[in-house]
């Protein structure tokens, strides 16, 4: 049984590494370049639609299992984990932000965040959640049902949800493509700022050129 406690990376400065990753869909095989990210380093994966960006993120997060290759997060090879072990690992160590935010419809902003903690088997900490919402200027809307929020507000809550468990790795799939320019800047800055705060590695996948210049680390797919 693999121990699933939160991976503490002390000496090892790598937080994400992929080896020979490829995925076969019914008609074609997509191969991905190896990615290596140091702890706290932010990386932009750039590529046109349909090149498999989302697939790559899913392979990294363990939502999709890889047929070939390996994904290391910290000192854990997640390709070797069973499905429920991967679910568990992901809940604790990976925060994911999607292009369009989706929430549990019947729950409020606060409840969605506390659910994220609960599902990751963390103790729900109200202060922690409220502080996080405060930082994202969403504390006034904690009790609101998520689908009543604006796009920009929803994306802030999605960021809060990705951060709530203080993950090792934050994966963002087209986080800004549904937003206008000013919101794009704000959301991006927030993302980087919050990732830095918890010393997390940020991997952003996008075809949005507005984000291109903001990263030192860029990988073209």
């Amino acid at each position: 049984m693999v121990k699933l406690n939160r991976v503490k990376v002390v000496n090892d400065m790598l937080s994400l590494k992929t080896n020979n990753l490829s995925h076969q869909y019914s008609q074609r095989v997509i191969s991905f370049p190896d990615i290596t990210c140091a702890k706290g380093e932010h990386t932009l994966l750039l590529g046109p639609s349909g090149c498999g960006k989302t697939t790559l993120l899913q392979l990294i997060s363990g939502i999709r299992s890889s047929q070939r290759g390996e994904v290391w997060i910290g000192d854990m090879n997640i390709s070797e984990l069973s499905q429920s072990q991967r679910d568990n690992f992901r809940g604790k160590n990976i925060g994911i932000i999607y292009q369009r935010s989706h929430f549990v419809r019947s729950l409020s902003v606060y409840e969605n965040l506390s659910l994220a903690m609960k599902l990751a088997a963390q103790t729900v900490n109200k202060d922690h959640i409220m502080k996080l919402l405060e930082k994202l200027h969403m504390d006034g809307k904690a009790k609101q049902i998520t689908y009543t929020l604006s796009q920009g507000e929803q994306q802030r809550v999605a960021i809060a949800r990705a951060l709530v468990n203080e993950p090792l790795l934050i994966l963002a799939d087209e986080p800004t493509s549904a937003l206008d320019d000013s919101n794009t800047d704000a959301v991006f800055e927030l993302l980087v700022e919050q990732a830095n705060e918890v010393n997390a590695t940020l991997v952003v996948v996008t075809h949005d050129n507005r984000l291109k210049d903001k990263f030192n680390n860029r990988i073209e797919l």
């Binding site: 679910d87 929430f103 549990v104 729950l107 506390s114 599902l119 990751a120």
Partner: protein, 436 residues
């Protein structure tokens, strides 16, 4: 935010979709619970009122009708019988009969039956007096607890009876004497709760009075005024009928009538059985055994009950299917939400539990509403049922079988939710999250 609360929130987030399955389930459970309640209480009623009666003797007619009218005061009596015919059974030295209780019926007061009988009826039914003394003289009555409560009668109150067993002011015995409430019975759950008890002779006097020739009545009054000084009529008008203790039925005019006679045997013997047959064959009366007639009644009712029970079970099955469909169809719109929860660390088993709990919440609520419905219905109709069955129905007592009904409801919820839950736990989260 535990799984249960999450399931609960999901259920109430789609109230309209869940309402149909909920109401269907409530209907099925309510129907079954109502039948169980009625069944139990009617059986209790019949059993409580057996009062150790081995044989009932009355006028020829339907034996069941005779039993229902004499033992439970539900149906109309079959007719009257002459004292001379039952004389042998009243004899305290009868070798087979331990005791005999005469009943005279046919009058009522505001829907409650007046029964002419003897004090020992209280011992037969094991009922105690709440207040006052037993009726001794004619036109004295002892009233049941429900009678006292419903009509707000207390000791010392008076009323006039009316002819027949229905509440009809036109049938009031206007010119007969008034009855005086002497005592009130403690509530016992037996039919005595619903009765007004008096002497057998009071019955005769009420009816004799009516057949009296008006001319003779005037003559009577003349007569009375002539003897005024001796009888002290002015201060106590009922003096001459009330204050003489009634005779025993053996001493009475044997051409008088009673309605029926309840018998207790010394032991159930061959002769006792023969006696029933002999009465039926050789006299103008009939004899019937309460236990046998009541069993006959129950077996007649049971086929109707069976049909209702099947109907209720069909409703429950349909509602289980409806729970299944509403959960299953909700999966499609919640697919993304469930995949999202998986991506946040929920394992397949947690998603499975989530849907199963939703199913159980639905059937739990359905069962709860069903039980409230059935007990509420009983509460609502208790007064009407009391009049029909002469029995106080308890609306808020819960049966152990209802507990089983509840458990069965939860199991049905679990079963109905299993397939949707399995489906939900097997959904490919990657594909779901990609096809947004």
């Amino acid at each position: 935010m535990n799984l249960f609360r999450l399931s609960w929130k999901s259920v109430i987030d789609r109230p309209l979709k869940m309402l149909l399955s909920l109401l269907l389930f409530a209907l099925g459970v309510g129907l079954i619970s109502f039948m169980l309640l009625m069944d139990k209480q009617i059986q209790d009623n019949f059993e409580k009122n057996l009062a150790g009666v081995d044989l009932v003797i009355g006028a020829k007619g339907s034996p069941l009708q005779m039993i229902l009218s004499s033992m439970y005061h539900i149906d109309a009596p079959t007719g009257n019988i002459y004292l001379k015919e039952v004389r042998p059974f009243l004899n305290p030295k009868h070798p087979l009969i331990e005791d005999a209780l005469p009943l005279s019926m046919g009058d009522s007061y505001r829907g409650f039956r007046i029964v002419g009988t003897e004090n020992k009826i209280l011992d037969w039914y094991g009922v105690e007096l709440e207040s006052g003394d037993k009726w001794t003289y004619n036109f004295e009555v002892t009233i049941g607890a429900t009678v006292a409560k419903t009509l707000s009668l207390t000791v010392g109150d008076t009323f006039k009876s009316s002819h027949g067993l229905v509440d009809d002011e036109n049938l009031e015995h206007d010119d007969a004497e008034s009855f005086v409430v002497k005592s009130i019975l403690a509530s016992s759950g037996t039919v005595l709760d619903q009765l007004i008890l008096t002497t057998t002779q009071s019955f005769w006097m009420v009816h004799d009075h009516e057949t009296v020739d008006p001319e003779k009545e005037i003559e009577d009054e003349h007569d009375h005024s002539g003897h005024d000084h001796g009888h002290n009529h002015d201060s106590d008008g009922h003096n001459h009928s009330n204050q003489t203790k009634p005779l025993t039925l053996l001493e009475e005019d044997q051409e008088k009538e009673i309605t029926s006679l309840l018998l207790r045997f010394k032991g159930r013997s061959f002769q006792a059985l023969n006696m029933q047959r002999s009465i039926n064959e050789n006299t103008d009366m009939q004899a019937a055994t309460p236990a046998i007639e009541i069993n006959r009644l129950f077996s007649m009712m049971s086929s109707a009950e069976q049909a209702l029970r099947i109907l209720a079970i069909i409703i429950i099955i349909v509602s289980a299917i409806s729970v299944f469909i509403s959960l299953y169809s909700s999966l499609n719109e919640r697919k993304y939400e469930l995949a999202l929860m998986r991506s946040m660390g929920a394992g397949p088993s947690q998603v499975f539990s989530l849907i199963v709990i939703e199913g159980i919440i639905l059937t739990f609520l359905g069962a709860l509403i069903g039980l409230i419905l059935s007990h509420g219905l009983l509460f609502f109709f208790a007064e009407h049922l009391r009049k029909v069955y002469r029995y106080n129905f308890e609306a808020w007592t819960f049966l152990p079988t209802e507990g089983y009904l509840f458990i069965a409801a939860l199991v049905i919820g679990l079963v109905a939710a299993t397939i949707p839950a399995y489906q939900a736990s097997k959904t490919d989260i990657a594909d779901t999250l990609t096809n947004r």
